[in-house]
Amino acid sequence: MTQEISQIWVYLSASPLLGLTITLLAYQAAFALYRRSGNNPLANPVLIAVFILVLFLTLTATSYETYFAGAQFVHFLLGPATVALAIPLYTQFKRVRSMLLPVLAGLLAGSLTAIVSAVLVARLLGASASTQLSLAPKSVTTPIAMGIAERIGGIPSLTAVLVIVTGILGAVGARFVFDAMKVRDPAIRGFAIGIASHGIGTARAFQVNEQSGAFAALAMGMNGALTALLVPWIAAYLINIG
């Protein structure tokens, strides 16, 4: 009996079916918890699903590569979903156009804050130079952030972790920050989440309000481009003044 089970496991662990299925199941469980909490940001579905999966993979000694062979089918949809962000952006275009000044000012201020504060706080706490450089692009979507880290001498795989943690922190913390600041406009809330915590923040914004989602998507795209331009020379400057 035990041998049969282990034979089944040998088959399953080598097939993409398992990785795909556990991704969907873990997410469904996480999403059900999130819904039951009344969409409480502390019950962030990405955070809970990742926790369940890491626990499962560790306990079953399954490698991430094996898991990803199945999970890549979900991962692939990030591309078309990113393209699909054009639709809410179009639907909300009138509002975006009426807010051109706040959008551009918020973009510049937020983008600079995200880069400079991460590097400076890490330096004050004694982090190494390559760690500081890996932190600089942490507020933009993973492929852009890893590309930047590579160019400026950071560690791309460390940046990938920092990007995900940043996304989750922003998605979890934003409501508390905005409520304390008495910021109620869904456009501003969405835009700030998109600047601070890219796609994971945008996903949270969409679950709450379509206008917030559209502004978060806009912010994510604009901040990706601006950060790619700013980080190389800001980082060089920040590292040199040390």
């Binding site: 997410y27 920092l162 912010a219």
Partner: protein, 119 residues
């Protein structure tokens, strides 16, 4: 749904080709998003099918980050030496960015507008 999905993939593909051939620092899907946005403005509407397909995809955008997020298990050891400065830096910087962005936008905006539930 099939035609909407095809349209999204065509724009992603075009964005990917453009990003690679021009060596742009922005990923292909983001370029594809911009191109689709321009196409929608030119066409003057989204159409029902594209609207409902995108709504379905975006409602569960969180799911799509789960495989990459799980990748954290591979690289977690990189964080282990310096996890405390990293965590404090990420926390302060992320919350600080939220505050500064929202504050600057609020100051630049004359008319406080719009209702609805917010995140």
């Amino acid at each position: 749904m099939i035609s909407a999905l095809s349209a999204l993939l065509v724009f992603q593909l075009a964005g990917e080709v453009l990003a690679r051939s021009l060596n742009l620092p922005i990923p292909g899907p983001v370029i594809g998003m911009l191109m689709l946005f321009v196409a929608l403005v030119l066409r003057g509407g989204t159409g029902d099918e594209l609207q409902s397909t995108s709504q379905n995809l975006l409602q569960h955008l969180s799911l799509l980050f789960v495989p990459a997020g799980t990748g954290i298990m591979v690289h977690l050891h990189r964080v282990s030496d310096e996890w405390l400065p990293l965590l404090i830096s990420l926390l302060l910087s992320t919350l600080g960015t939220l505050v500064v962005t929202a504050l600057v936008m609020k100051l630049c905006q004359r008319s406080p507008a719009a209702s609805g539930e917010a995140p």
